[in-house]
């Protein structure tokens, strides 16, 4: 348990980790798609409802500012730094609203933040277990106390979510953790979902979110692209999207349904299963090398005696 969580422990009990409790109860429930954990916590962002007010961004930074070493990003003309103006997700910004505009009639907002994958690449590649996935809540969390800053999580993430604090002497990785240590713990909901004035962000369990999403698709078929982004992408994500514009135009890449981490781990595990292959290789090579060396020593010994017999003058040629 980290210092922060210890400090907030009483609070947690008081305000109730309601979400956590419900999750614990739900872990026994059977999952629908094989290994997919639909009891995990997530968010559904409905781009057709979003009005682009960015209240979620402000709430995120207000709540998580200290937790994650976030700073406000100044616009070039704003010398006093009174207006936070992030251009993209960064080492100071965990969530961001962007606008996609095709014409005056056709446009859409889109919100970025960690997708909380079912089979996360960042967790799979981190060499020192600094990225972890909570078994119950499905939250992908980052621990700066073990992180070595190798940025392999950034290489691995298909959504380019983990951000590094390039400008800092003591940098860290920054990404959304569903307010795990802040708002979720205190109020049982993420800051962005709590703040959204139009209900574009729904917080809840994945199975409930999927149900809501599919109901909306059925009730308003003309309004949406007929799929839920994140339902199957890379083996499923806990952050889901609905939109009226094709997802790839909103910066959400077209992705296969297989998780890259399954592929890489399968290869790595085949090679290193039980550490048998390396040990076998070492012992075989040892056997060959020792045999060869013995042979070589015999040859040079014979040569020495032959040289000695044929006269000592030869040796110092």
């Amino acid at each position: 348990m980290s210092k922060q969580s210890r400090r907030g422990f009483l609070k947690t009990i008081g305000f109730g980790g309601a979400a956590l409790l419900t999750c614990k109860a739900g872990i026994a429930g059977a999952s629908e798609h094989g290994q997919v954990n639909n009891e995990a916590l997530g968010m559904l962002y409905d781009a057709t409802m979003c009005v682009g007010c960015k209240a979620c961004m402000t709430a995120c930074k207000r709540v998580n500012g200290d937790f994650g070493n976030l700073s406000y990003e100044k616009a070039p003309f704003d010398k006093d730094g009174i207006w936070d103006a992030p251009q993209d997700l960064s080492g100071s910004t965990r969530t961001l609203i962007k606008l996609y505009k095709e014409s005056d009639a056709k446009w859409s907002y889109v919100k970025y933040s960690c997708m909380h994958c079912q089979k996360p690449s960042c967790v799979s590649v981190c060499p020192v277990s600094a990225m972890s996935k909570d078994k119950i809540t499905g939250i992908i969390d980052y621990n700066k106390d073990t992180c070595i800053g190798c940025r392999y999580c950034q290489v691995g993430c298909s959504f380019n979510i983990p951000k590094f604090q390039w400008e800092k002497t003591v940098p860290q990785i920054v990404k959304c953790d569903l307010c795990k240590s802040t708002n979720l713990k205190q109020k049982g909901i993420t800051a962005c979902a709590e703040t959204c004035p139009v209900g574009a962000i729904t917080f809840g369990k994945r199975k409930d979110l999927l149900e809501i999403a599919h109901t909306r698709l059925k009730e308003n078929p003309g309004r949406y692209i007929q799929s839920v982004y994140g339902e199957h992408e890379l083996g499923g994500t806990n952050h889901l999207y609905l939109a009226a514009v094709p997802y790839n135009k909103l910066g959400l890449p077209v992705l296969p349904t297989a998780a890259p981490a399954e592929f890489s781990e399968r290869i790595q595990h085949t090679i290193y299963k039980g550490f048998i292959a390396p040990v076998a290789l070492y012992s075989t090579l040892c056997f060959i090398a020792i045999k060869n060396q013995k042979k070589q020593d015999e040859i040079s010994d014979q040569k020495k005696t032959a040289d000695e017999n044929s006269g000592k003058g030869e040796e110092h040629k």
Binding site: L89, S90, S121, S124, V125, C126, P127, V128, S129, K144, D145, T146, C147, I148, G149, C150, R151, Y152, Q154, V155, G156, S158, N160, P162, K163, F164, Q165, W166, E167, K168, T169, V170, P171, Q172, G251, P253, L255, P256, P260, A261, F263, S264, E265, I267, Q268, H269, I271, Y272, P278, L281, Y282, L285, C286, I288, A289, I290, N292, Q293, Q296, I299
Partner: protein, 421 residues
């Protein structure tokens, strides 16, 4: 390496040459920027971004640098496993290059790591994450660097046994007369060092073969894992390079780069130090290379065909051009060596080895940087400071090599014939 000390000699000549000072200047410039990096953060010196979190420090210093440092690995396989003892005279210079290459790759990693003070986590089993290819690479590279140092130790011990301590005496006198203890005390100290070196060396040499074999096993593991590192980037690495065969391709790739570097190093040091070319050893060595690259190219093409990417490979767009350049450099460079006459000409040997090393290195760059596309809007080209840090580290490597071959018997002894004479 084990025994046969008569096969190696020290290079005669002054240490403080013109090239020494040129390299020293480059090294100091590099270290200035390394200082800036530690004070002001990585962003202050590098053009890396959240889209391209790995720049040339990883793509060159680690991924390519360790392949170039695979000479020791490749030659050790040849001698100890394939039983070709006539190549033993090449081993020490190959080992020294490997030691520098791996040591400085580790050093580069410490510059590149954002939270380097946490790297002790690699020694804490509670933090181990065995799914990560990087975990494997990190532990393996650390162990291998240590193994390389042990493999090279007999040469150092031998020089300690046979040194007269003149330089040491000169240095201490120059430092400060008061620092110099009385002659007798120093002589006895020197005697003690010599005798302990003489005690340690034969004992070490007895067990050295186990370290040598470890020095063959470890690169087999981590060089393939360097390829596995990019397996995760299924959605970012161009399909011309992303394949399940990455580990195998990286493994074979490092072996022929290793042989190529041994040839280059031998020819350059013969030329630079005015020694005669080791044509006989090199032409024998170069006989193996085209067969290795033939296997590599077959896997490469077969894999592309199997995944239906052959058309993309000859589209002559940005990615296809880099693929073709890499392919032609390796193919043309190595197939020259199928010819007996070419193998006997130092010039052609040099050209062929240079093409192969360039092509092999380009393959690694393609996988780590050029074929890597994190999505729209991201671009990467190394900054001046970033380049100078890499240049500084490479200069330090060359500098160290240049000095050490004059202090320790590393280069092959032209007057000694190991076998068959």
């Amino acid at each position: 390496m084990a025994g046969h000390h008569e096969q190696f000699i020290k290079q005669e000549g002054k240490i403080f040459t013109k090239s020494f000072f040129v390299l020293l200047t480059l090294t100091l410039i590099g270290f200035f920027f390394i200082g800036v990096r530690y004070v002001k953060g990585i962003g202050a010196v590098s053009n890396m971004s959240d889209g391209y979190p790995w720049g040339i420090w990883i793509a060159y210093d680690v991924a390519t640098g360790t392949a170039i440092a695979c000479g020791g690995y490749a030659v050790a396989i040849l001698i100890y496993i394939r039983n070709h003892w006539k190549y033993h005279p090449l081993i020490r210079s190959a080992l020294l290059t490997s030691l520098f290459g791996y040591g400085l790759a580790g050093f580069s990693v410490m510059i590149d790591l954002g939270r380097y003070w946490n790297s002790y986590g690699f020694f804490m089993p509670s933090r181990w994450q065995i799914n990560s290819a990087m975990f494997e690479v990190a532990l393996c590279v650390m162990t291998y660097t240590l193994v390389l140092a042990i493999e090279f130790l007999p040469a150092v011990l031998w020089s300690m046994e046979n040194s007269k301590g003149n330089t040491l005496r000169k240095v201490t006198t120059w430092l400060h007369p008061r620092l110099v203890p009385d002659e007798a005390k120093m002589a006895s100290g020197l005697e003690w060092v010599k005798s302990s070196a003489a005690w340690l060396r034969p004992r070490l040499e007895k067990f050295l073969v186990f370290f040598i074999v470890l020095g063959i096993t470890l690169p087999t593991m981590h060089q393939s894992s360097l390829g596995s590192l990019l397996l995760i980037a299924a959605t970012k690495l161009n399909p011309l390079w992303h394949t399940g065969f990455l580990p195998l391709l990286f493994l074979i790739n490092c072996v022929y780069i290793g042989y190529g570097i041994v040839i280059l190093e031998s020819i350059i040091s013969s030329y630079g130090f005015g020694r005669s070319f080791e044509v006989k050893e090199l032409s024998g060595l170069s006989k193996i290379i085209p067969w290795l690259t033939l296997i590599w190219l077959t896997v490469r093409i077969g894999d592309l065909a199997w995944r239906g990417q052959l058309a993309a490979a000859v589209k002559f767009d940005f990615y296809s051009n880099f693929f073709l350049l890499e392919f032609l450099l390796i193919a043309c460079g190595s197939f020259i060596l199928f010819s007996e006459t070419m193998r006997r000409s130092p010039r052609w040997l040099f050209i062929s080895a240079a093409m192969m090393v360039l092509g092999g290195a380009l393959y690694r760059f393609n996988v780590y940087l050029i074929g890597f596309n994190p999505g729209q809007g991201w671009h990467y080209f190394p900054s001046f400071a970033e380049l100078m840090i890499t240049a500084g580290i490479v200069s330090l490597e060359l500098l160290g090599y240049q000095v050490l071959v004059k202090v320790i018997p590393v280069l092959p002894n032209p007057n000694h014939h190991a076998n068959g004479h």
